[in-house]
Symmetry: C2
Subunit: 318 residues, 2 copies
């Protein structure tokens, strides 16, 4: 039985193994991903992001439990671009939620960046594809930081939840710096802290002046205390509301179209790049051209033209 | 007279015009850049980076004046990836240093990201190429923030100066997060603030445990008060010391080789990408494939293979 068949069959070990293959030997994973592609597109992909220390993993775990109670099968991918660790089910304080880790309806996976061949965003995207084809109804993608790479990862979700906590001075700055545009739902966690109300007001003001105001969806601002579970039901309802909006408005298809287009472009470029270097690297050709540049015997534009010639022949208008 | 000839001739308007062309019509700028390439490689390129508010532009201006006093001609490129403005000579508080702006031995230019065709890093790199060929002896590239794009820009410099100020709690965190590796010289500005000494100690400890300790160059830690000019002479000496190290150790050639290699790769990919879309976009071919992906009639890997076929014929081992 192929890995793809195992995944479709609900075999957790095959699922885990294919995700490892995606991380370590993306080329070998390709035939399996091809086979799984027709079975994807059913899961709701929920991205959860926000600064470190806001309680993202507790929030994710609480949400996952809610989805479980509704009978959904849940996948959780915790992405940390700065972590050297990858592949384990337990990441940091995830240990806390052992009951989730032992629930057969839940698949938990951490993904780190170090030593991974190919990009983390692409690997995450393909891991989502696997869980989607494996029949998980909801897939949570939790990113650890708020850098550009995390934003790139989380924006591939259908619904992006941005978490904040009161009293972290840089939050509104962070939001202004790009998080605002990708948020579908805001959640203020640790909402029993004194400044919670002020943060709500600040957010509302920001939202009022943003482009969201003209769009069909204004991100709701939910308040939770993840450690006790308070407010998680309302957050779950907000996520459901966004899912309905995505379906009703045609926005789901638009987002998925964009996602497929970005993926296609990235796969095309990777394959082409691989071929290009297979052609030019043997015999040190590539290095020789770099030396010529250094000695000013050629300029980079003429050099590029020469190197591209075999790939741009008469077929392609060259 | 071509723009390239004007640049070589010391014509400031031609220089400014060519940089605008690089920003707005990179394709048209190419022949000029080809012509200028043989005349490059003489300037010392000094990158200056650090969090907002540390006094980078004052520091750059003070340094520029020092270089001027030594008889050097100086180029200053202030890069702000978040700014919609580009092309003007005066950016923000740069107005302060009007004496520099009117000095014919100084060329000042701001570059922003919005509306720029092609990447900002590439445009900056080509603007440096122009100033280098125009005979500026030192070129300062000042970046406004500390994000990944700023790091990408500043790491193309020969000498990277990382600025810090005492009492900004996140500094050491920022340094740990990637700035440490690119710094050739540290400068603690506003060094009359109370915590300056502690910051020096913390930095020394970080440097002691870093890979720098094994390399041939340990970044010196200079202290300045840019507003009064105090310490700027020592900073100038540290930059000179690094320049000597680069020449003596062979590191300059190694850095430039890496830079040319990265540039060549990026030019090759841009040219190829342009050709690829010229081939597939007319008639809506590209969009049709994306629709097929959305309808699961094809998977992204097979789709990529089909789209690449005309570019990978028998010539290239296809």
């Amino acid at each position: 039985m192929s890995l793809a068949e195992g995944v479709r069959d609900g075999n957790v070990r095959a699922t885990a193994k294919l995700i490892s293959l995606i991380e370590n030997s993306p080329g070998e994973a390709e035939p399996e991903l091809r086979a799984l592609h027709p079975y994807t597109g059913n899961a709701q992909i929920v991205g959860i992001t926000g600064s470190p220390g806001i309680g993202k993993s507790t929030l994710t775990d609480r949400l996952a439990k809610r989805f479980r109670k509704e009978g959904s099968r849940v996948g959780i991918i915790a992405v940390d671009p700065n972590s050297p660790f990858s592949g384990g089910a337990l990441l940091g304080d995830r240990v806390r939620m052992q009951d989730l880790a032992t629930d057969p309806g839940v698949f938990i996976r951490s993904m780190g960046a170090r030593g991974m061949l190919g990009g983390l965003a692409r690997a995450t995207h393909n891991a989502i594809r696997v869980l989607d084809a494996a029949g998980y109804d909801a897939i949570f993608v939790e990113t650890v930081g708020v850098g550009q790479s995390e934003v790139d990862i989380v924006r591939t979700a259908d619904t992006v939840v941005v978490g904040l906590v009161p009293g972290m001075g840089d939050d509104i700055q962070t939001i202004k710096a790009g998080i605002l545009e990708i948020a579908d739902v805001f959640v203020i966690n640790k909402a029993d802290r004194p400044d919670a109300h002020r943060l709500v007001i600040e957010l509302q003001m920001l939202l009022g002046t943003s482009s969201h105001a003209e769009a069909g969806w204004v991100p709701p601002i939910e308040q939770t205390i993840a450690s006790t579970g308070e407010g998680v039901g309302a957050l779950r309802t907000a996520i459901a509301g966004h899912w309905e909006y995505l379906h009703g408005s045609g926005e789901l298809e638009a987002r998925r179209r964009n996602r497929y287009e970005a993926e296609l472009q990235s796969v095309v470029e990777d394959h082409w790049r691989k071929r290009f270097f297979e052609y030019w690297q043997p015999g040190g050709h590539w290095e020789q051209v770099v030396e010529q540049l250094l000695r000013k015997e050629i300029d980079p534009f003429s050099a590029a033209q020469q190197l591209l010639a075999p790939f741009l022949d008469s077929n392609t208008g060259g």
